[in-house]
Amino acid sequence: MSRAYFSKSHVARHQLDSFNYFLLHNLQKVVNEQRIIETDIESRGKSRQPVWVELGKIEVKKPMVREADGSQGELFPTEARLRNLTYAAPIQLEMTLIQGDDRYEPVIATIGQLPVMVGSVACNLHGLSDGERIEHGEDPLDPGGYFIINGTERVLMTLEDLASNKIMTEFTERYNERIYVAKVFSQYRGYRALIVVERNRKNLLEVSFPSVAGHLRFVDLMRALGLVSDQEIVNAVSTDEEILTFMMQNLEESVECDSVEAGIMYVGRKLAPNQTRDYQRKRAEFVLDNYLLPHLNYLMPPDLKEGDPGYEKAVQSVRLAKAHFLGRMAEACFDLVLGKRRIDDKDHYANKRLKLAGDLMEDLFRISLNRLTRDIKYQLERASMRHRHLSIATAVRADVLTERLLHPLATGNWVGGRTGVSQLLDRVDHMSVLSHLRRVISPLSRSQPHFEARDLHPTQWGRICPSETPEGPNCGLVKNFAQMVEISKGIDEELEMKRILFNMGVEALKGEAK
């Protein structure tokens, strides 16, 4: 036990594990999300041929330094610190240009420099013995887990946030009345949307989510999502007697909609009043597919495009899943009304999720890659307009991505407008380094009291240190990991997981694609 306590590899384990996971899996995942770079050359160019680029394998090399004379050499952290360099490694991406029916040879291009965490698998120190580390000018007791940007050591803070994709219930006071609410922060690929189901005074359910002004009637929305009959809707919510009576009231309120089509038109009218019916339908479908519970969109097969066979069916099944999820939210809301469920404790650590260095780098890389693809698209289109030969090597400008990656790390201004994410490593003494690497910050504003959030919650036992927190305005908002904390990472094998669940007796939704 005490050996585990004091083993040196433990201190920044979470930082390194997280970053390694990003390097080995999520980097490729982000690239796969992007998959291709489409261009508008077909419609604008002379050749009238569609042109696109397919993205392939991504690889991160070892940290390098490019000298003024153009030579490249291996870079070690000490040198980076002393010479005010950035400890970063080139990223190489396999790209294939496709012009009409021609498929060019895949090109491996360096698309930018990725700052590398000291001690991670991409680090030159990885796997070195203590003696070898000393030879390279490195303290063998240094825990690693930070980046070196222009010679300064930068730590990515672990961010604590409310768990996404989880139904949370709460009360809100409005006009001296208690409103019962079920909320979900739905998150999918960096996009975060708040979906709220609430029960108003007349026991009617209302749903609101981004891009909808005001709210939608629950039952009509369910119809729009593909649950036609009253029974289907009620079953999606609950079979409880009391809830049944509530649902009856809801059903009576919406008589105008009786089909999927009518439901979609109801949504469309709310979204785009005074527009043509055609536009309304299109808008409604777009919003339902993109802004309502976006986290369920993972059910969409990734390589299916509009117009492909089976596309319609996949969309239908996703909408159905959304309907059933909404049903669960409604049930939670009614359960709260009936006292079968208590409001969720937002400070309960089960309702918290931590964003570690790897997750932050993923967000950053996603946005940066997006920028790069836009730039590549622009470069290709420009080359095409000037009737030049299209070439990947010239279209890729590595500085675009590098700049995008370095700037947030250097300043702490992360994508999404969060500040103070990367901080200068506190080297006052060894203890402060260890403490800094294990710091957790909460997004709550320090100027408001937030008494409950600042309290030490019993669920923090074994996870967060009960004693170490700053005094003053940040008290209880800035935390530190407990000595033996272990951070779980979730499960990769989705199919395996599904099989286990089905084996345990979970029933598939009607109409869901298996």
Binding site: R454, L456, P458, G476
Partner: protein, 880 residues
């Protein structure tokens, strides 16, 4: 010297274009500042008519040098009018309440009268507001249909109307707006609360822009000789450039589109010139990406002109360093390190009477080697106000030149009056006048007895010291700010300066019970006091004289003091045993002799020292200050006589006590278990207005609280006055019996916001307990003491309780600071007039009698104007 003038009234208005041109000394047309030779361009932004900043040049307007020229305004003729961002709300209001064709107020004359009268009765304002005008109407004067005015931040106005069911929008250019504002008749403006003589509304749309003098936007010369211009100059350059281009395009007859673009650009530059933080407008940036600091930014906020430069300033003749305690100096003194004293000076005006003395100061020079050497001088000032710095080289010559009328800036020496201050300055005792005492070392030294008014301790606190420079300031400091004048706090009418910590413990140990001292010990105790003779000994044994402890203490009491009171250790027995009190808590002083009782916090402590309070009223501030000095010295001596310390073994109890505590807690736990059982059976009788669950919680809290107190009693039985912690708690020096209970007995129930710890996992606080466990341990009761050590769960609960305290202090300090600031802002101008009323500066009465009883709390006895008890006691001399 100009004669003083009284300000009759101040009126605020707008500059009219005419006025701007009139006060302008130069029309500015060139965007450039300096030519290659570094000479300002004529009619450029640094034109010599606008004032000079370079030494050597003379202002072309007033012919004065850089130091004396105040600067003069210039002006820029704008190609087209632009809106002043500061007045967009006014413009919006005016456009909405006036007709779009005839510019009359959208009300008939009767309606105006009616609205004005109606408001008169209500709020008392005699002006119209936007609400008085009905929406969507026709002008009562010309019958024109009115359109809605849309305002888009920062400066865009447009008209919106419906035509054939479609929304139509038309943008209003600043010129259109100005034309409409020009037409508003004066009477209508008066009804809107605008005085047309000083502020015509069209003046809010600028046609001429004043160019501030160079003196308020000086350029700085960097080390490499390059000039770096002020942000305002940069912004003005932008404005002139665009203005010039605009004019050229206009003259060349450029297409409307280009004109509009340039107009908008000009508007943007003028907007950011006035305020660079307007909503809906990207801030103008410097080349480095830093947002420019323009006019509004200079005034706004904490470091702005008002809060930063006018309300708060930096001062000379001040020093700041760490403070440390010195119980041997007087409370009215402050120990000043030599380094500070050598730097700080007091001006001495040389007269025929002190010429020799002043000459000696000069001869002593600026370097004083030790604390005991005579003080020197750093500067002399000649009658023509020339300052001469003294150095070894010129001492002799200057000393000889010295004659009446000169001023010598003498270094600080013992006995000078200085102001001493510690932030935050929350009450008037945060700054007091002390007498200096030069000391070795590098810290300010102060008597620990003056810590309470400053709220100072010595964990690294720093304090400021200021030296008054005029005789008036010195007199004022001596009479109003001196420490002895501030012993009584105006907050509660009691002494705020008095014994703390060891003073109280020491004086308690000295005076408790009856002790006899031999002559050596008495002399040891009083060796630092000015006592000329000892009273006759209290007893003589075997020919050896002995003095009682009460006699020793009586040595420092004023002769004529008579009082009776109860000490801190008094238990408030139903019937007081008076002199027979077994705790010696009945204090009786007769003719300055302590007859019975123990002197402790109640007698000499800060905040409630009864003896201090009485001596102030009977013998004055000065005598009281002396008494505090004597008392603190005596206390320190007497605590040193025996020594005083506290260790881990002072928390030890005997086996029997530990057994009793265990039994105690056992029975309390049983009690709780029983109550839970009753509750679970549903047999609990709820208290009125509470649910059963709440009742149970309250009962458990009560039981646990009682259990903790009980353990304290058990521990207290074992720990007597031989225990230092008990001495401190009983005398009121520091800590309480509760602290001792927690150290030796049991820490007790931990709570969060007054409740037991309830949050955590599903139906339990921690996974160490069963679900639904309502027992004591599962919700934060700590059986152990700090001495015995806490179990892991107990430690965690303690951390939960401790965190609440931390959060509380952090949140409270910021909130109370803000509250204080707002209160001071609201009350700062009130004063007590000679007739006893509280008035504002305008003479409005706030209170008819100050405090509604006319009592100065600093001269009261804990708020009462007459100290009846004190008078009775001094007459009866403690007799019944």
């Amino acid at each position: 010297m100009p004669s003083p003038k009284r300000i009759g009234k101040i009126e605020f208005g707008l500059f009219s274009p005419k006025e701007i041109r009139k006060m302008s000394v130069r029309k500015i047309i060139w965007a450039d500042t300096y030519d290659e030779d570094g000479f300002p361009y004529p009619q450029g932004l640094m034109d010599l008519n606008l004032g000079v900043i370079d030494p050597g040049l003379r202002c072309k307007t007033c012919d004065q040098r850089a130091a004396d020229c105040p600067g003069h305004f210039g002006h820029i003729e704008l190609a087209k009018p632009v809106i002043h961002v500061g007045y967009t709300r006014l413009i919006r209001k005016l456009l909405r309440v006036t007709c779009r064709s005839c510019s009359r107020l959208l009300l008939s004359t009767d309606e105006i009268e009616k609205a004005v009268i109606a408001e008169d009765e209500g709020t008392g304002t005699d002006t119209l507001s936007e609400k008085d005008i009905k929406k969507e109407q026709i002008c009562p004067h010309c019958g024109e249909q009115q359109y809605k005015i849309n305002f888009e931040k920062p400066t865009t106005f447009s008209e919106v109307w419906m035509e054939d069911g479609k929304k139509m929008e038309h943008r209003l250019t600043p010129a259109d707006i100005r034309a409409r504002l020009e037409k508003i008749p004066d009477e209508d403006l008066r009804a809107l609360g605008i005085n047309p003589l000083v502020a015509r509304p069209e003046w809010t749309v600028l046609t001429v822009l004043p160019v501030p003098p160079v003196t308020m936007r000086p350029s700085i010369i960097l080390e490499n000789g390059q000039r770096s211009e002020d942000d305002l100059t940069h912004k003005l350059v932008d404005i002139i450039r665009i203005n010039q281009r605009f004019k050229e395009n206009q003259d060349a007859g450029a297409p409307q589109l280009i004109i509009e673009d340039l107009w908008e650009l000009l508007q943007y530059h003028v907007t950011t010139y006035l305020d660079n933080e307007v909503a809906g407008c990207p801030p103008a940036r410097h080349r480095s990406g830093r947002p420019l600091k323009t006019l509004s930014q200079r005034l706004k906020g904490k470091d702005g002109r008002f809060r930063g430069s006018l309300s708060g300033k930096r001062v000379n003749f001040s020093a700041r360093t760490v403070i440390s305690p010195d119980p041997n100096i007087s409370v009215v003194e402050v120990g000043v390190p030599l380094a500070v004293a050598n730097e700080m000076t007091v001006p001495i005006r040389v007269t025929t009477m002190n010429l020799e003395e002043a000459r000696q100061y000069v001869l002593n020079g600026p370097e004083r080697p030790t604390v005991n050497s005579p003080c020197g001088a750093n500067y002399v000032i000649r009658p023509d106000n020339r300052r001469i710095r003294l150095s070894e080289a010129n001492l002799q010559t200057v000393a000889e030149m010295l004659e009446p009328g000169w001023v010598v800036e003498r270094q600080l020496r013992d006995g000078d009056i200085v102001l001493f201050n510690r932030q935050p300055s929350l009450h008037r005792m945060s700054i007091m006048a002390h007498r200096t005492k030069l000391m070795d070392g590098r810290t300010f030294r102060l008597n620990p007895a003056v810590c309470p008014p400053y709220n100072a301790d010595f964990d690294g606190d720093e304090m400021n010291l200021h030296v008054p420079q005029t005789e008036e300031a010195k007199a004022e400091a001596q009479i109003l700010l001196a420490v002895q004048e501030n012993i009584l706090s105006p907050r509660f009418g009691g002494p705020i300066i008095g014994g703390i910590h060891d003073h109280v413990s020491g004086i308690f140990l000295l005076t408790h019970g009856l002790r006899w001292f031999r002559k050596e010990d008495v002399m040891y105790l009083v060796q630092h006091h000015r006592i000329s003779s000892l009273p006759p000994p209290g007893k003589v044994e075997d020919g050896v004289p002995f003095w009682s402890n009460k006699q020793v203490f009586s040595l420092i009491l004023p002769r004529e003091l008579n009082m009776v009171f109860h000490a801190s250790s008094c238990q408030n027995c139903v019937e007081c045993k008076r002199e027979g009190c077994e705790r010696d808590a009945y204090v009786r002083i007769q003719d300055g002799q302590l007859v019975s009782g123990t002197i402790d916090k109640k007698a000499v402590g800060a905040f409630d020292g009864q003896i201090l309070h009485r001596t102030i009223r009977q013998h004055g501030m000065r005598r009281t200050a002396e008494f505090i000095d004597d008392m603190t010295r005596l206390a320190i001596r007497s605590i040193m006589l025996d020594g005083f310390s506290f260790g881990i073994d002072d928390e030890d109890l005997s086996k029997t006590e530990y057994g009793q505590i265990r039994e105690m807690l056992e029975s309390a736990a049983n009690d709780v278990r029983m109550r839970i059982k009753i509750f679970e059976e549903g047999a609990l009788e709820p208290m009125p207005g509470r649910t059963e669950e709440e009742t149970l919680e309250m009962q458990i809290m009560q039981v646990m609280g009682k259990a903790r107190d009980r353990t304290g009693e058990i521990a207290g039985r074992h720990l007597g006055l031989e225990n230092s912690a008990v001495v401190m708690a009983v005398s009121g020096a520091r800590g309480s019996m509760l602290n001792l209970t927690q150290m030796a007995g049991c820490i007790g129930q931990q709570s969060v916001r007054g409740e037991r710890i309830m949050r955590g996992y599903d139906e339990r606080t921690l996974p160490h307990f069963r679900k639904g466990d309502r027992g004591a341990e599962a919700h934060g009761f700590i059986k152990n003491s700090y001495k015995s050590g806490l179990s892991p769960t107990e430690f965690f609960f303690h951390a939960i309780g401790g965190r609440e305290g931390l959060v509380d202090t952090a949140v409270r300090t910021s909130q109370s600071g803000y509250l204080q600031r707002r209160m001071i802002n609201a009350l700062q101008d009130l004063k007590v007039a000679y007739d006893g009323t509280v008035r504002t500066t305008g003479g409005r009465i706030i209170q008819f009698l100050y405090g509604e009883d006319g009592t100065d709390p600093a001269k009261s006895s804990y708020g009462d104007p007459v100290d009846v008890k004190g008078i009775v006691e001094s007459v009866l001399k403690g007799e019944r």
